[in-house]
Amino acid sequence: MDLTVEKLAKMIDHTVLKPETTTAKIKQLCEEATIYNFAAVCINPVHVPYAVELLQDTSVKVCAVIGFPLGATTPEVKSCETKDVVHAGAHEVDMVINIGALRDENYDLVKRDIESVIDASGDAHVKVILETGFLTDDQKRKACLICKEAGADFVKTSTGFGPMGATPHDVRLMRETVGPDMGVKAAGGIKTFKDAVRLIDAGADRLGTSSGVAIVEDFRWAQYSDSWMVPDKPCWTCPSRMANMAKQPKEVYKWYKERCLTCPDKEHNIFND
């Protein structure tokens, strides 16, 4: 796509989800979202009423996270939480999938969990966070299909609190699985316009990031050189490189690392770059 600063900004959910977030930070977030005309602010439920008030005369939407960041609560609680934020004026909700149920192959529970949020969301769009760092590729595909069947609007890669953030590999896989009519949101670890452009090229149409201002501002550099986007070592953006046994289930970690053994870019896998 012919990406401009304005188009890029309109793909960004300007995000602050840290537990220590103050009202002043929410005010700053909303002001920046207004200045840059971001798609939405993505915040914890407790801040929704204030953000709705601040953004009432703008085109910036308010997005609240549900069952965040673990996704391990019940469908009933997620439903209740959704009703609450939608009642407070949220236009979008980003829910965390039941990761454990997915890994248990308890797909009925996974689907019911998502449907409970969709049913409670009214006109609000629902994005489902898969937390890809806990999943193998087959599990990611299955999760995408369940989200689609349940009627979610978007699938989303990560919370930013899990084992890894968004990678082009995962976004590509998710886009291929859900097709062109459903949204794919990349989130977690997106800090530069290069990250953003790569993920958009891979199929993302929404980006969740706390670095929205820097991404949009620095994107102005893109017009002065094509060299920013010269390919880096392939390992830099590969989820297998980011795999971390301390943060992932052992078998998931092993699955990621075994991919390296048969990877055609194996010779680039050096660790002093």
Partner: protein, 596 residues
């Protein structure tokens, strides 16, 4: 000066030291439009007025102190000044910059630049007090160090004035002599202090009470508000630099195996943690230093043995520390302070000491010098400034020292200027920047450490030569344009090309796009190149010490070499230069540089 004077209306002050006469020249509109101010103004003046082959330490050399259209305005960091001259160290055209407060005072006094001609019979200083300009006797100051000189000059003139002066190193024409301001800020590189000393000019003292005008106050206000907001949003300018100062780079460079150690024989210093920015903060921090109009405040003030001293900043800390294998942070701060008192460039001084240590290590030089050993080094620094014994030989820099002892390959320099604190094997683009710098071994012509190491604005693969020529050209041209505004390089972390262009447009009334600003920078870069070619430099000078074509044995940059030829070919093509590194007529024509 008249109230709210515009830069366009600010005269160039010509001072003829041989007869102490003074002339004011209006800023030529054509020069202003094509070269803006600061570095560009100085480069154009030197190109047009300095005969090829002029001895840099002869009275015929010109010494230009320039400020720019942003100086003294609300543009953040715009209180700096630039010194342009032919360098006695490199033989190239040279621009050397300093922060502090002197630049803003010079601009508020109403001047765009001061051009020093000739040589005075006796030591003098120049006292600029708004419109009043006076060449005064400085015989009693000759021989004084930088700190005493500064104090005595402020007492003799006005406590609110600002001083730019030389110390003993400059008086004795040492090729590593700096021009110092506010005692510990330095226009350090290229031996510009020796040029000042060769003119018997001890100092310039400036005080201005006027207001600095801009073309469109409201537009500039909006641009500056945005610029300040961007500085606050950037992690480097709002967190790393204010918290740790430039020494934050010690740990970063060491981790990547790019912290030159033992005269660039290694890229990892085992005791890096002990000389890191974090350790400086924990052990010696006594405050920070902000230059005029700077919201960043990267300058360090350290408490050493009960006394507050300036710095040490990253480059100085490295040169007097890991480059010489020295891990004593307190000693490094003392050595840095000693250099400031004497008016010595800390990078070249430390690097030359490191080269001497390797000469000793390799059996080429017999001297009581050893990597890691501080014994006698403070005395040696004194000897360098006063040209005594081995210090006299070292005062000429590492290139001449190593040649003298039959091992030129041990001087880590480009075009005679010592390289700064990044091993080029660890960052290909930065290596190309060193090789093609118009003023010799310099990290500030094209600071590709930003994208290659710090990820600013985005991280690019530091090992790949592909695409680096393009980025080096971009950064060289932008840096040249920034040096015409005269603003700090660190703004580059937070602002884009468009921000600089907007501030120039608002300040001057020239409607410049980002691309126009880069073209202006390219014009300056090419004119500097023409100057150097005229002085006899060739494509063969666009190179690096042989050491960098052999791999580092260990550390985060192990097994890397610089792929210079590949990048250089592409760079010449992008610049519109022929295979011999000469700008083609077509290139000069496109840049509005008259073809002679």
């Amino acid at each position: 000066m008249s109230k709210s004077s515009l830069y366009a209306d600010a005269p160039i002050l010509h001072v003829y030291l041989h007869d102490k006469s003074i002339r004011r020249e209006s800023l030529p509109p054509d020069l202003y439009e094509h070269y803006l101010g600061g570095r560009g103004l100085g480069v154009k003046l030197l190109f047009d007025n300095l005969a090829p082959g002029t001895d840099a330490l002869s009275p015929d050399n010109l010494l230009v102190f320039a400020v720019g259209p942003s100086t003294g305005t609300s543009v953040p960091t715009a209180g700096r000044f630039v010194v342009i001259t032919k360098s006695p160290t490199t033989g190239t055209i040279f621009d050397s910059h300093a922060g502090g407060y002197f630049g803003a005072q010079l601009r508020r006094a109403g001047f765009a630049a001061v051009v020093l001609h000739g040589k005075s019979d006796n030591p003098v200083y120049l006292w600029i007090n708004d419109d009043e300009v006076e060449v005064r006797d400085a015989s009693k100051l000759w021989g004084r160090d930088v700190f005493t000189t500064s104090d005595e000059l402020l007492e003799a003139t006005d406590a609110k004035a600002q001083v730019a002066c030389i110390g003993p190193a400059g008086e004795n024409l040492g090729l590593m002599a700096a021009i110092m301001t506010d005692k510990h800020r330095a226009a350090g590189r290229g031996g510009v202090g020796a040029v000042m000393g060769s003119k018997n000019l001890k100092a310039i003292v400036a005080k201005g009470s006027g207001e600095v005008g801009v073309h469109d106050q409201e537009r500039l206000k909006a641009a500056v508000e945005r610029a300040r907001r961007l500085i606050k949003k950037n992690a480097v300018t709002d967190k790393s630099l204010p918290m740790y100062g430039t020494p934050v780079l010690v740990s970063v460079a060491n981790e990547l195996g790019m912290l030159p150690t033992h005269n660039f024989q290694e890229g990892t210093f085992n005791d890096a943690e002990g000389v890191s920015g974090e350790k400086l903060l924990e052990r010696f921090s006594a405050g920070t230093y902000h230059c005029h109009g700077c919201p960043i405040g990267c300058g360090r003030i350290s408490l050493i043995k009960g006394e507050k001293v300036g710095g040490p900043e990253y480059e100085s800390l490295w040169a007097l520390g890991p480059q010489c294998g020295i891990n004593d942070l307190e000693w490094i701060a003392i050595a840095n302070d000693r250099c400031n008192h004497l008016g010595l460039d800390t990078i070249s001084t430390g690097s030359t000491i490191g080269a001497a240590m390797e000469l000793v290590e390799k059996g080429k030089l017999d001297a009581p010098l050893k990597f890691g050993d501080t014994t006698g080094v403070l005395d040696l620094i004194d000897d360098i400034a006063y040209l005594r014994g081995l210090g006299a030989e070292m005062s000429e820099g590492s290139m001449r020292l190593a040649e003298r002892y039959g091992a030129p390959e041990l001087a880590m320099q480009v075009k005679g200027l010592e390289l700064p604190a990044y091993d080029p094997r660890g960052a290909q683009g930065h290596a190309l920047g060193y090789a093609t710098s118009n003023r010799g071994g310099c990290h500030l012509r094209s600071y590709l450490i930003g994208p290659e190491v710090l990820g600013s604005p985005v991280l690019v693969d530091r090992d790949r030569p592909e695409g680096k020529a393009d980025l080096v050209k971009l950064y060289q041209d932008l840096s040249a344009a920034m040096d015409c505004m005269v603003v700090c390089r660190f703004t580059n972390f937070a602002w884009t090309v468009d921000d600089y262009a907007e501030m120039v447009s608002a300040g001057t009334g020239f409607e410049l796009s980002g691309h126009d600003l880069l073209r202006l920078g390219a014009r300056i870069y090419n004119l500097e190149r023409l100057f150097n070619l005229r002085e006899g430099f060739t494509a063969e000078d666009d190179t690096l010490p042989q050491r960098f074509f052999k791999p580092l044995p260990e550390g985060g940059s192990r097994n890397r070499v610089v792929h210079l030829n590949q990048m250089l070919k592409e760079y010449y093509e992008l610049r519109g230069w022929d295979k011999k590194g000469r700008p083609t007529e077509d290139t000069l024509s496109k840049l509005d540089i008259p073809v002679s």
